[in-house]
Protein backbone atom coordinates (compact mmCIF):
# COMPACT_ATOMS: atom_id res chain seq x y z
CA UNK A 1 0.00 0.00 0.00
CA UNK A 2 1.37 3.35 -1.04
CA UNK A 3 -0.83 5.47 1.12
CA UNK A 4 -0.13 5.47 4.82
CA UNK A 5 -3.84 4.94 5.21
CA UNK A 6 -3.32 1.58 3.62
CA UNK A 7 -5.31 0.00 0.84
CA UNK A 8 -8.59 0.68 2.58
CA UNK A 9 -7.48 4.29 2.95
CA UNK A 10 -6.83 4.69 -0.74
CA UNK A 11 -10.21 3.21 -1.50
CA UNK A 12 -11.79 5.39 1.15
CA UNK A 13 -10.30 8.47 -0.45
CA UNK A 14 -11.45 7.54 -3.96
CA UNK A 15 -14.88 6.63 -2.64
CA UNK A 16 -15.12 9.86 -0.69
CA UNK A 17 -14.24 11.88 -3.77
CA UNK A 18 -17.13 10.20 -5.48
CA UNK A 19 -19.62 10.68 -2.64
CA UNK A 20 -19.06 14.31 -1.78
CA UNK A 21 -18.07 16.76 0.97
CA UNK A 22 -19.45 14.87 3.98
CA UNK A 23 -17.58 11.70 3.04
CA UNK A 24 -14.45 13.72 2.37
CA UNK A 25 -14.75 15.36 5.77
CA UNK A 26 -14.92 11.92 7.35
CA UNK A 27 -11.69 10.83 5.66
CA UNK A 28 -10.05 14.10 6.67
CA UNK A 29 -11.14 13.51 10.24
CA UNK A 30 -9.64 10.03 10.14
CA UNK A 31 -6.36 11.54 8.94
CA UNK A 32 -6.45 14.08 11.77
CA UNK A 33 -6.99 11.50 14.48
CA UNK A 34 -4.49 9.01 13.11
CA UNK A 35 -1.98 11.89 12.82
CA UNK A 36 -0.65 10.42 9.63
CA UNK A 37 1.16 12.88 7.35
CA UNK A 38 -0.54 12.74 3.96
CA UNK A 39 -0.59 16.30 2.69
CA UNK A 40 -1.37 15.41 -0.94
CA UNK A 41 -4.55 13.59 0.07
CA UNK A 42 -5.59 16.35 2.47
CA UNK A 43 -5.08 19.04 -0.16
CA UNK A 44 -7.03 17.04 -2.72
CA UNK A 45 -10.00 16.46 -0.44
CA UNK A 46 -9.83 19.65 1.59
CA UNK A 47 -9.84 21.87 -1.46
CA UNK A 48 -13.17 20.44 -2.60
CA UNK A 49 -14.73 20.08 0.84
CA UNK A 50 -13.94 23.69 1.75
CA UNK A 51 -15.75 24.79 -1.35
CA UNK A 52 -19.03 23.57 0.17
CA UNK A 53 -18.93 25.16 3.64
CA UNK A 54 -22.66 24.79 4.07
CA UNK A 55 -22.40 20.99 3.95
CA UNK A 56 -19.75 20.89 6.71
CA UNK A 57 -21.12 23.24 9.32
CA UNK A 58 -18.57 24.30 11.93
CA UNK A 59 -16.26 21.50 10.88
CA UNK A 60 -15.28 23.65 7.91
CA UNK A 61 -12.89 25.57 10.17
CA UNK A 62 -11.05 22.43 11.27
CA UNK A 63 -10.91 21.37 7.64
CA UNK A 64 -9.54 24.77 6.61
CA UNK A 65 -6.90 24.56 9.32
CA UNK A 66 -5.93 21.04 8.30
CA UNK A 67 -5.83 21.97 4.62
CA UNK A 68 -3.69 25.03 5.40
CA UNK A 69 -1.05 22.95 7.13
CA UNK A 70 -1.10 20.36 4.33
CA UNK A 71 -0.85 23.09 1.69
CA UNK A 72 2.26 24.43 3.43
CA UNK A 73 3.71 20.92 3.33
CA UNK A 74 3.38 20.65 -0.42
CA UNK A 75 4.05 24.28 -1.28
CA UNK A 76 0.55 25.06 -2.51
CA UNK A 77 1.00 28.69 -1.55
CA UNK A 78 -2.15 30.03 -3.11
CA UNK A 79 -4.28 27.45 -1.36
CA UNK A 80 -2.48 28.10 1.94
CA UNK A 81 -3.05 31.84 1.61
CA UNK A 82 -6.73 31.25 0.81
CA UNK A 83 -7.18 29.13 3.94
CA UNK A 84 -5.27 31.57 6.10
CA UNK A 85 -7.26 34.49 4.79
CA UNK A 86 -10.56 32.79 5.56
CA UNK A 87 -9.45 31.80 9.06
CA UNK A 88 -8.05 35.21 9.98
CA UNK A 89 -11.15 36.93 8.65
CA UNK A 90 -13.34 34.85 10.93
CA UNK A 91 -11.05 34.48 13.96
CA UNK A 92 -9.09 37.39 15.28
CA UNK A 93 -5.37 37.36 14.78
CA UNK A 94 -5.10 37.95 18.50
CA UNK A 95 -6.40 34.45 19.13
CA UNK A 96 -3.71 31.86 19.85
CA UNK A 97 -4.86 29.26 17.35
CA UNK A 98 -5.09 31.67 14.42
CA UNK A 99 -1.79 33.27 15.42
CA UNK A 100 -0.05 29.95 15.35
CA UNK A 101 -1.31 29.27 11.84
CA UNK A 102 -0.10 32.66 10.72
CA UNK A 103 3.28 31.87 12.24
CA UNK A 104 3.41 28.52 10.45
CA UNK A 105 2.87 30.27 7.14
CA UNK A 106 5.74 32.63 7.88
CA UNK A 107 8.00 29.74 8.86
CA UNK A 108 7.18 27.90 5.65
CA UNK A 109 8.20 30.98 3.71
CA UNK A 110 11.48 31.11 5.63
CA UNK A 111 10.48 34.40 7.27
CA UNK A 112 11.75 33.28 10.66
CA UNK A 113 12.15 36.73 12.22
CA UNK A 114 8.49 37.59 11.65
CA UNK A 115 7.36 34.13 12.73
CA UNK A 116 9.39 34.50 15.90
CA UNK A 117 7.70 37.81 16.66
CA UNK A 118 4.28 36.20 16.22
CA UNK A 119 5.13 33.54 18.78
CA UNK A 120 6.65 36.10 21.14
CA UNK A 121 3.36 37.96 21.10
CA UNK A 122 1.51 34.74 21.86
CA UNK A 123 3.78 34.11 24.83
CA UNK A 124 3.36 37.65 26.11
CA UNK A 125 -0.38 37.01 26.22
CA UNK A 126 0.12 33.57 27.80
CA UNK A 127 3.56 32.49 28.95
CA UNK A 128 2.48 28.88 29.19
CA UNK A 129 1.36 28.58 25.57
CA UNK A 130 2.86 25.20 24.69
CA UNK A 131 2.09 25.55 20.98
CA UNK A 132 4.09 28.77 20.77
CA UNK A 133 6.99 27.26 22.68
CA UNK A 134 7.01 24.30 20.30
CA UNK A 135 6.98 26.57 17.27
CA UNK A 136 10.02 28.38 18.61
CA UNK A 137 11.78 25.04 18.67
CA UNK A 138 10.52 24.49 15.13
CA UNK A 139 12.15 27.76 14.08
CA UNK A 140 15.47 26.70 15.56
CA UNK A 141 15.26 23.45 13.61
CA UNK A 142 14.31 25.39 10.51
CA UNK A 143 17.41 27.50 10.98
CA UNK A 144 19.42 24.30 11.59
CA UNK A 145 20.43 25.45 15.04
CA UNK A 146 20.36 21.95 16.53
CA UNK A 147 22.15 22.99 19.72
CA UNK A 148 19.56 25.71 20.31
CA UNK A 149 16.71 23.35 19.48
CA UNK A 150 17.96 20.77 21.98
CA UNK A 151 18.38 23.43 24.68
CA UNK A 152 14.86 24.74 24.16
CA UNK A 153 13.40 21.26 23.97
CA UNK A 154 15.12 20.31 27.21
CA UNK A 155 13.70 23.41 28.90
CA UNK A 156 10.28 22.56 27.47
CA UNK A 157 10.18 19.00 28.80
CA UNK A 158 11.37 20.23 32.18
CA UNK A 159 8.25 22.38 32.23
CA UNK A 160 5.87 20.00 30.48
CA UNK A 161 7.05 16.69 31.84
CA UNK A 162 4.12 14.68 30.59
CA UNK A 163 4.32 15.83 26.95
CA UNK A 164 5.29 12.55 25.37
CA UNK A 165 5.75 13.74 21.83
CA UNK A 166 8.20 16.36 23.07
CA UNK A 167 10.22 13.76 24.97
CA UNK A 168 10.26 11.59 21.87
CA UNK A 169 11.29 14.50 19.66
CA UNK A 170 14.16 15.22 22.04
CA UNK A 171 15.12 11.55 22.16
CA UNK A 172 15.21 11.21 18.39
CA UNK A 173 17.15 14.46 18.01
CA UNK A 174 19.79 13.12 20.39
CA UNK A 175 19.77 9.74 18.64
CA UNK A 176 20.29 11.30 15.21
CA UNK A 177 23.27 13.19 16.63
CA UNK A 178 24.75 9.97 18.00
CA UNK A 179 24.14 10.96 21.63
CA UNK A 180 22.71 7.62 22.64
CA UNK A 181 22.85 7.88 26.43
CA UNK A 182 20.86 11.11 26.30
CA UNK A 183 18.34 9.48 23.97
CA UNK A 184 18.11 6.54 26.36
CA UNK A 185 17.38 8.89 29.25
CA UNK A 186 14.44 10.38 27.35
CA UNK A 187 12.98 7.01 26.47
CA UNK A 188 13.32 5.90 30.09
CA UNK A 189 11.14 8.87 31.02
CA UNK A 190 8.63 7.77 28.41
CA UNK A 191 8.57 4.26 29.82
CA UNK A 192 7.74 5.75 33.22
CA UNK A 193 4.69 7.41 31.67
CA UNK A 194 3.63 4.44 29.61
CA UNK A 195 5.13 1.24 31.01
CA UNK A 196 3.17 -0.97 28.64
CA UNK A 197 4.03 0.85 25.43
CA UNK A 198 6.00 -1.81 23.57
CA UNK A 199 7.60 0.63 21.13
CA UNK A 200 9.50 2.49 23.85
CA UNK A 201 11.05 -0.73 25.12
CA UNK A 202 11.99 -1.70 21.60
CA UNK A 203 13.63 1.66 20.97
CA UNK A 204 15.58 1.34 24.22
CA UNK A 205 16.78 -2.06 23.05
CA UNK A 206 17.93 -0.56 19.77
CA UNK A 207 19.68 2.34 21.48
CA UNK A 208 21.56 0.16 23.97
CA UNK A 209 22.62 -2.21 21.20
CA UNK A 210 23.81 0.67 19.06
CA UNK A 211 25.66 2.18 21.99
CA UNK A 212 27.41 -1.12 22.72
CA UNK A 213 29.39 -0.93 19.49
CA UNK A 214 31.41 2.04 20.69
CA UNK A 215 32.07 0.74 24.19
CA UNK A 216 35.09 -1.05 25.68
CA UNK A 217 34.52 -4.77 26.31
CA UNK A 218 33.68 -4.48 29.99
CA UNK A 219 30.84 -2.05 29.33
CA UNK A 220 29.87 -3.64 26.02
CA UNK A 221 28.37 -6.70 27.70
CA UNK A 222 26.38 -4.49 30.08
CA UNK A 223 24.85 -2.57 27.21
CA UNK A 224 24.05 -5.75 25.27
CA UNK A 225 22.39 -7.28 28.32
CA UNK A 226 20.23 -4.19 28.67
CA UNK A 227 19.36 -4.34 24.99
CA UNK A 228 18.41 -7.98 25.33
CA UNK A 229 16.24 -7.24 28.34
CA UNK A 230 14.33 -4.50 26.54
CA UNK A 231 13.78 -6.52 23.38
CA UNK A 232 12.57 -9.51 25.40
CA UNK A 233 10.21 -7.31 27.38
CA UNK A 234 8.89 -5.75 24.20
CA UNK A 235 8.12 -9.21 22.86
CA UNK A 236 6.24 -9.98 26.06
CA UNK A 237 4.16 -6.86 25.64
CA UNK A 238 3.42 -7.50 21.98
CA UNK A 239 0.13 -9.18 21.21
CA UNK A 240 -0.15 -12.62 19.57
CA UNK A 241 -1.36 -11.10 16.30
CA UNK A 242 1.50 -8.61 16.19
CA UNK A 243 3.26 -8.76 12.86
CA UNK A 244 6.19 -6.68 14.01
CA UNK A 245 9.54 -8.35 13.61
CA UNK A 246 11.60 -5.60 15.19
CA UNK A 247 11.82 -6.91 18.78
CA UNK A 248 12.39 -10.49 17.64
CA UNK A 249 15.20 -9.39 15.32
CA UNK A 250 16.64 -7.26 18.08
CA UNK A 251 16.53 -10.11 20.57
CA UNK A 252 18.15 -12.47 18.08
CA UNK A 253 21.00 -10.05 17.42
CA UNK A 254 21.50 -9.14 21.06
CA UNK A 255 21.65 -12.80 22.07
CA UNK A 256 24.00 -13.51 19.18
CA UNK A 257 26.32 -10.67 20.19
CA UNK A 258 26.27 -11.82 23.82
CA UNK A 259 26.87 -15.36 22.56
CA UNK A 260 30.10 -14.18 20.99
CA UNK A 261 31.29 -13.13 24.46
CA UNK A 262 29.63 -15.85 26.56
CA UNK A 263 28.81 -18.79 24.31
CA UNK A 264 27.68 -21.15 27.07
CA UNK A 265 25.32 -18.89 28.98
CA UNK A 266 22.15 -20.99 29.17
CA UNK A 267 19.73 -18.12 29.55
CA UNK A 268 21.22 -16.40 26.56
CA UNK A 269 21.03 -19.52 24.43
CA UNK A 270 17.39 -19.98 25.44
CA UNK A 271 16.53 -16.39 24.54
CA UNK A 272 18.35 -16.61 21.21
CA UNK A 273 16.52 -19.80 20.36
CA UNK A 274 13.22 -18.22 21.32
CA UNK A 275 13.85 -15.22 19.09
CA UNK A 276 14.80 -17.47 16.17
CA UNK A 277 11.64 -19.54 16.61
CA UNK A 278 9.49 -16.43 16.80
CA UNK A 279 11.02 -15.04 13.62
CA UNK A 280 10.61 -18.30 11.74
CA UNK A 281 6.92 -18.52 12.61
CA UNK A 282 6.30 -14.88 11.85
CA UNK A 283 8.00 -14.89 8.47
CA UNK A 284 6.62 -18.26 7.46
CA UNK A 285 3.03 -17.20 7.98
CA UNK A 286 3.19 -13.67 6.65
CA UNK A 287 6.10 -12.97 4.32
CA UNK A 288 6.66 -13.92 0.65
CA UNK A 289 8.20 -17.38 0.40
CA UNK A 290 11.14 -16.55 -1.80
CA UNK A 291 12.13 -13.62 0.40
CA UNK A 292 12.26 -15.96 3.37
CA UNK A 293 14.31 -18.59 1.63
CA UNK A 294 16.72 -16.22 -0.04
CA UNK A 295 17.36 -13.71 2.70
CA UNK A 296 15.62 -14.22 6.01
CA UNK A 297 16.32 -17.88 6.71
CA UNK A 298 20.09 -17.56 6.22
CA UNK A 299 20.14 -14.51 8.46
CA UNK A 300 18.24 -16.27 11.24
CA UNK A 301 20.39 -19.37 10.85
CA UNK A 302 23.58 -17.31 11.11
CA UNK A 303 22.48 -15.91 14.47
CA UNK A 304 20.76 -18.91 16.06
CA UNK A 305 22.47 -20.73 18.93
CA UNK A 306 24.69 -22.62 19.59
CA UNK A 307 27.12 -19.73 19.73
CA UNK A 308 30.43 -21.43 19.07
Amino acid sequence: PGSALGETGDMARVEAERQGPEAMAAVLKQLRTSRVREPETVVRLGRVAMGKPGRLGDEVWTVREQTLVAALDVEERALAAECEGAILARFSEEGARASRLKGLGLEAAGRFEEASKTYEKMLEANGANAAALKREIGILKGRRDMQGAVEKLTAYVAKYQSDRSAWQELAETYSAAGLFSQAIFCYEELVLFEPTAARYHCRLGELHYTESAGLPNAKKLDALLKARKYFAHCLNLAGPRDKASRPALGLLLAASAIGAIKPDDELNVALGAQAAAKLKTLYKTAAPNDLVTAAVAPFVAANTPPYH
Binding site: D73, Y209, R246, F299
Partner: protein
Protein backbone atom coordinates in the same frame (compact mmCIF):
# COMPACT_ATOMS: atom_id res chain seq x y z
CA UNK B 1 44.53 -8.47 -12.08
CA UNK B 2 40.95 -7.35 -11.64
CA UNK B 3 40.74 -4.39 -9.31
CA UNK B 4 43.49 -2.40 -7.61
CA UNK B 5 43.82 -2.70 -3.84
CA UNK B 6 42.53 0.30 -1.93
CA UNK B 7 45.85 1.54 -0.66
CA UNK B 8 47.35 1.84 -4.12
CA UNK B 9 44.23 3.06 -5.87
CA UNK B 10 44.54 6.58 -7.18
CA UNK B 11 41.92 6.53 -9.90
CA UNK B 12 38.91 8.70 -9.22
CA UNK B 13 35.67 6.86 -8.90
CA UNK B 14 32.76 7.04 -11.35
CA UNK B 15 29.37 6.10 -9.98
CA UNK B 16 26.39 5.36 -12.18
CA UNK B 17 22.85 4.64 -11.09
CA UNK B 18 20.36 2.56 -13.10
CA UNK B 19 16.74 3.43 -13.81
CA UNK B 20 15.17 1.11 -11.26
CA UNK B 21 17.64 2.09 -8.54
CA UNK B 22 17.16 5.82 -9.08
CA UNK B 23 13.38 5.55 -9.27
CA UNK B 24 13.15 3.51 -6.06
CA UNK B 25 15.45 5.88 -4.19
CA UNK B 26 13.53 8.95 -5.32
CA UNK B 27 10.19 7.36 -4.49
CA UNK B 28 11.51 6.62 -1.02
CA UNK B 29 12.69 10.20 -0.52
CA UNK B 30 9.44 11.63 -1.90
CA UNK B 31 7.25 9.36 0.19
CA UNK B 32 9.01 10.51 3.37
CA UNK B 33 9.82 14.02 2.30
CA UNK B 34 9.68 15.23 5.91
CA UNK B 35 12.26 12.73 7.19
CA UNK B 36 15.88 11.85 6.80
CA UNK B 37 15.92 8.68 4.69
CA UNK B 38 18.60 6.20 3.79
CA UNK B 39 19.18 2.94 2.01
CA UNK B 40 21.69 0.49 0.63
CA UNK B 41 23.00 0.50 -2.93
CA UNK B 42 23.17 -2.85 -4.73
CA UNK B 43 25.30 -3.48 -7.78
CA UNK B 44 28.77 -4.25 -9.07
CA UNK B 45 32.22 -2.68 -8.75
CA UNK B 46 34.84 -2.37 -11.44
CA UNK B 47 38.35 -0.90 -11.11
CA UNK B 48 37.22 2.65 -10.74
CA UNK B 49 33.53 2.56 -11.44
CA UNK B 50 30.54 1.47 -9.40
CA UNK B 51 27.29 0.52 -11.10
CA UNK B 52 24.27 0.78 -8.82
CA UNK B 53 21.61 -1.51 -10.27
CA UNK B 54 19.14 -1.50 -7.41
CA UNK B 55 18.57 -0.12 -3.92
CA UNK B 56 17.09 -1.38 -0.68
CA UNK B 57 15.33 1.57 0.97
CA UNK B 58 16.04 1.33 4.67
CA UNK B 59 14.72 3.82 7.19
CA UNK B 60 12.80 7.03 7.69
CA UNK B 61 12.45 6.88 11.47
CA UNK B 62 16.12 7.01 12.37
CA UNK B 63 18.87 4.47 11.74
CA UNK B 64 20.10 2.28 14.57
CA UNK B 65 22.48 -0.67 14.63
CA UNK B 66 20.40 -3.80 15.08
CA UNK B 67 17.92 -3.28 12.24
CA UNK B 68 20.68 -1.92 10.02
CA UNK B 69 22.72 -5.07 10.58
CA UNK B 70 19.76 -7.30 9.79
CA UNK B 71 18.99 -5.31 6.66
CA UNK B 72 22.61 -5.32 5.49
CA UNK B 73 22.89 -9.10 5.81
CA UNK B 74 19.69 -9.68 3.90
CA UNK B 75 20.55 -7.04 1.29
CA UNK B 76 23.83 -8.82 0.58
CA UNK B 77 21.86 -11.98 -0.23
CA UNK B 78 19.45 -10.00 -2.36
CA UNK B 79 22.36 -8.48 -4.27
CA UNK B 80 23.27 -11.92 -5.60
CA UNK B 81 19.78 -12.36 -7.02
CA UNK B 82 19.99 -8.93 -8.65
CA UNK B 83 23.49 -9.02 -10.13
CA UNK B 84 24.68 -12.62 -9.89
CA UNK B 85 27.82 -13.76 -8.11
CA UNK B 86 29.45 -10.35 -8.61
CA UNK B 87 26.52 -8.59 -6.99
CA UNK B 88 27.10 -6.92 -3.65
CA UNK B 89 26.08 -4.10 -1.37
CA UNK B 90 28.28 -1.46 -2.97
CA UNK B 91 27.23 1.64 -1.13
CA UNK B 92 24.83 3.65 0.96
CA UNK B 93 22.45 6.45 0.00
CA UNK B 94 21.00 9.10 2.26
CA UNK B 95 19.04 12.33 2.22
CA UNK B 96 19.03 14.81 5.09
CA UNK B 97 15.84 16.02 6.73
CA UNK B 98 16.42 19.71 6.19
CA UNK B 99 16.14 20.98 2.62
CA UNK B 100 19.34 23.03 2.92
CA UNK B 101 21.42 20.54 4.86
CA UNK B 102 24.19 19.37 2.54
CA UNK B 103 26.41 17.79 5.17
CA UNK B 104 27.78 14.29 4.92
CA UNK B 105 26.49 12.75 8.14
CA UNK B 106 28.76 10.90 10.57
CA UNK B 107 26.41 8.01 10.15
CA UNK B 108 26.83 7.95 6.36
CA UNK B 109 30.61 7.97 6.75
CA UNK B 110 30.52 5.16 9.30
CA UNK B 111 28.17 2.97 7.33
CA UNK B 112 30.04 3.70 4.11
CA UNK B 113 33.29 2.67 5.75
CA UNK B 114 31.79 -0.56 7.07
CA UNK B 115 30.61 -1.44 3.58
CA UNK B 116 34.00 -0.44 2.22
CA UNK B 117 35.80 -2.70 4.69
CA UNK B 118 33.69 -5.65 3.60
CA UNK B 119 34.48 -4.97 -0.08
CA UNK B 120 38.17 -4.31 0.48
CA UNK B 121 39.02 -8.00 0.85
CA UNK B 122 38.14 -8.46 -2.82
CA UNK B 123 39.85 -5.27 -3.94
CA UNK B 124 36.61 -3.36 -4.35
CA UNK B 125 35.46 0.01 -3.03
CA UNK B 126 32.24 1.45 -1.67
CA UNK B 127 30.49 4.70 -2.48
CA UNK B 128 28.16 6.97 -0.58
CA UNK B 129 25.47 8.75 -2.56
CA UNK B 130 23.68 11.79 -1.23
CA UNK B 131 20.42 13.18 -2.51
CA UNK B 132 21.03 16.91 -2.29
CA UNK B 133 17.53 18.16 -1.54
CA UNK B 134 17.88 21.74 -2.74
CA UNK B 135 18.89 20.64 -6.22
CA UNK B 136 15.54 18.95 -6.73
CA UNK B 137 14.12 22.33 -7.63
CA UNK B 138 15.56 21.76 -11.08
CA UNK B 139 13.53 19.09 -12.86
CA UNK B 140 16.39 17.91 -15.05
CA UNK B 141 18.90 17.64 -12.20
CA UNK B 142 19.26 14.13 -10.84
CA UNK B 143 20.33 15.82 -7.60
CA UNK B 144 23.02 13.35 -6.58
CA UNK B 145 26.44 13.79 -4.99
CA UNK B 146 28.82 10.84 -4.65
CA UNK B 147 31.53 10.38 -2.06
CA UNK B 148 34.55 8.09 -2.06
CA UNK B 149 36.94 7.12 0.69
CA UNK B 150 40.73 6.92 0.77
CA UNK B 151 40.54 4.74 3.85
CA UNK B 152 40.38 7.53 6.39
CA UNK B 153 38.12 10.23 5.04
CA UNK B 154 35.23 10.63 2.65
CA UNK B 155 35.38 13.27 -0.07
CA UNK B 156 33.14 14.25 -2.95
CA UNK B 157 33.97 12.58 -6.25
CA UNK B 158 35.07 14.77 -9.13
CA UNK B 159 32.70 13.10 -11.56
CA UNK B 160 28.94 13.52 -11.21
CA UNK B 161 26.80 10.45 -10.68
CA UNK B 162 25.63 9.14 -14.06
CA UNK B 163 21.86 8.91 -14.31
CA UNK B 164 19.93 8.63 -17.59
CA UNK B 165 18.27 12.08 -17.98
CA UNK B 166 15.17 10.41 -19.42
CA UNK B 167 14.41 8.78 -16.06
CA UNK B 168 14.99 11.61 -13.60
CA UNK B 169 11.26 12.28 -13.30
CA UNK B 170 9.93 8.75 -13.67
CA UNK B 171 9.44 8.48 -9.92
CA UNK B 172 6.82 11.26 -10.03
CA UNK B 173 4.71 9.27 -12.50
CA UNK B 174 5.17 6.19 -10.36
CA UNK B 175 3.85 8.00 -7.30
CA UNK B 176 0.98 9.46 -9.33
CA UNK B 177 0.09 5.90 -10.31
CA UNK B 178 -0.16 5.14 -6.56
CA UNK B 179 2.74 2.72 -6.86
CA UNK B 180 3.83 1.76 -3.35
CA UNK B 181 7.41 1.89 -2.06
CA UNK B 182 8.33 -0.27 0.90
CA UNK B 183 11.35 0.42 3.06
CA UNK B 184 12.81 -1.68 5.83
CA UNK B 185 10.98 0.35 8.50
CA UNK B 186 7.64 -0.54 6.91
CA UNK B 187 8.71 -4.15 6.52
CA UNK B 188 9.64 -4.35 10.19
CA UNK B 189 6.15 -3.18 11.12
CA UNK B 190 4.57 -5.81 8.89
CA UNK B 191 6.70 -8.55 7.35
CA UNK B 192 4.20 -9.05 4.54
CA UNK B 193 5.55 -5.82 3.03
CA UNK B 194 8.40 -6.63 0.68
CA UNK B 195 11.45 -4.33 0.62
CA UNK B 196 12.54 -5.81 -2.70
CA UNK B 197 9.84 -3.67 -4.33
CA UNK B 198 9.44 -5.80 -7.46
CA UNK B 199 6.40 -3.72 -8.36
CA UNK B 200 8.74 -0.80 -9.10
CA UNK B 201 11.01 -2.88 -11.34
CA UNK B 202 7.96 -4.16 -13.25
CA UNK B 203 6.49 -0.69 -13.58
CA UNK B 204 9.75 0.83 -14.85
CA UNK B 205 10.16 -2.01 -17.35
CA UNK B 206 6.65 -1.48 -18.72
CA UNK B 207 7.08 2.26 -18.77
CA UNK B 208 10.34 2.25 -20.68
CA UNK B 209 9.23 -0.23 -23.32
Amino acid sequence: EKACPISKCSTRMQVSMGDVAYTKMMMHAARYFYCAVDGLCIGTCGESEITILDVVPLFHNGTLAPMLEAAAYMAERYAKSVAGAEGAVVGYYFSNEHVKDEALTVQAATIGSTIGDALASTGRRACVVQLANARLEHPTDAGLVAYESNGTAWTRTDAAVKVDPAVTNLFLSALDDDLPIVDFDLHLDDVAMDWRNTQVKDWVKRRLK
